[in-house]
């Protein structure tokens, strides 16, 4: 008899739960970002229809170290089925 000690996680991480339940921003120019964060360029979305925004690279890059969790519970399996085995030696994002 073999008992699996480390089974697939049954519960999503807090970040994944937040991702799933979060609403889409409907007016990007009304979001109050923390002072350290560069807000999206308002000119880029001056006549954006509701919920359809453009984002510049410098704004988008700020998320890189903030959302690092796997985007679904079955992510590892999905990687094995598509891209192949994950490289276990890979350091955390931002590392070398």
């Amino acid at each position: 008899l073999q008992l699996k000690t480390s089974s697939e996680p049954a519960l999503p991480s807090a970040a994944l739960t937040a991702l799933r339940s979060a609403r889409f921003i409907d007016d990007i120019n009304k979001v109050a970002y923390p002072p350290s964060i560069l807000s999206p360029n308002p000119a880029l979305n001056s006549n954006a229809p509701n919920g359809k925004f453009k984002y510049e690279k410098d704004f988008l890059m700020q998320f890189q170290t903030v959302f690092t969790d796997k985007p679904s519970i079955d992510w590892d399996q999905r990687m094995r089925d598509t891209v192949g085995e994950p490289d276990s030696a890979r350091p955390m994002p931002g590392g070398r």
Binding site: A18, L19, I25, L60, F67, T82, D87, P93
Partner: protein
């Protein structure tokens, strides 16, 4: 209540306020699907056996969850590709959105010295951030990175080859494509002496992919 602002100012916690309890996320203008082509093996009967749909997403946060947990381009085996296309469009010439179109592409021949991960990331960010084209252009269908033995190639696929129609003159259509090419060239950090080439898919199909004649150059 005594809250100074509208109620949703307090409710709108972004991932920057709280990475684990955020209440709003950043929508993308389009949904995008990431595809992967693995190197072929002997049991494949058709090229399309090697092409797999990885994931579809529609927020900035989810994009980063994917990017931070997927193999980097520089770690992929030779003959692998990533394709990032608008949802519903297969990354193939035969797809209805691509069959009358073409691609801007640049081949990086110095595999060791080129910062391919950064360039591909910036290309994807320009695609999902919708800064590759004007809203009215509706040209971009997807972006691609190819890992090959002697080079990396990054491509940007468009719906047309700049011939006009659908309310656009041929001059306007051509100028839209050229402007997309110039933005793409900037994202790839290329210099004045480097040339990014545009070719139509049907030209490529006729001539063999590597021998297609460039229709435009920026």
């Amino acid at each position: 209540g005594s809250a100074p602002g509208p109620e949703d100012a307090r409710d709108q916690l972004t991932v920057f306020h709280s990475p684990e309890n955020f209440t709003v996320k950043h929508p993308l203008m389009n949904k995008w699907t990431l595809w992967f082509t693995r190197p072929p093996n002997k049991s494949d009967s058709h090229w399309s056996d090697t092409l797999k749909e990885v994931v579809t997403f529609d927020s900035v946060e989810e994009f980063w969850g994917i990017y931070n947990n997927i193999t980097k381009t520089s770690d992929l085996a030779v003959k692998s590709d990533y394709h990032l296309f608008k949802v519903g469009i297969r990354p193939e010439w035969e797809d209805i959105a691509n069959k009358h179109g073409g691609k801007w592409a640049y081949q990086f021949k110095e595999r060791r010295s080129v910062a391919i991960d950064e360039l591909w990331l910036h290309t994807m960010l320009a695609a999902i951030g919708e800064t590759l084209e004007k809203e009215t252009d509706r040209e971009v269908t997807g972006v691609v990175v190819n890992v090959r033995k002697g080079f990396y190639r990054i491509g940007l696929w468009t719906r047309t080859v700049g011939v006009g129609g659908e309310g656009k003159t041929s001059k306007e259509a051509r100028e839209s494509l050229l402007e997309i090419g110039r933005r793409f060239k900037e994202i790839l950090k290329l210099g004045d002496r480097d040339q990014v080439e545009f070719s139509g898919h049907s030209d490529s199909a006729l001539a063999g992919s590597s021998r297609a004649k460039a229709k435009f150059v920026v």
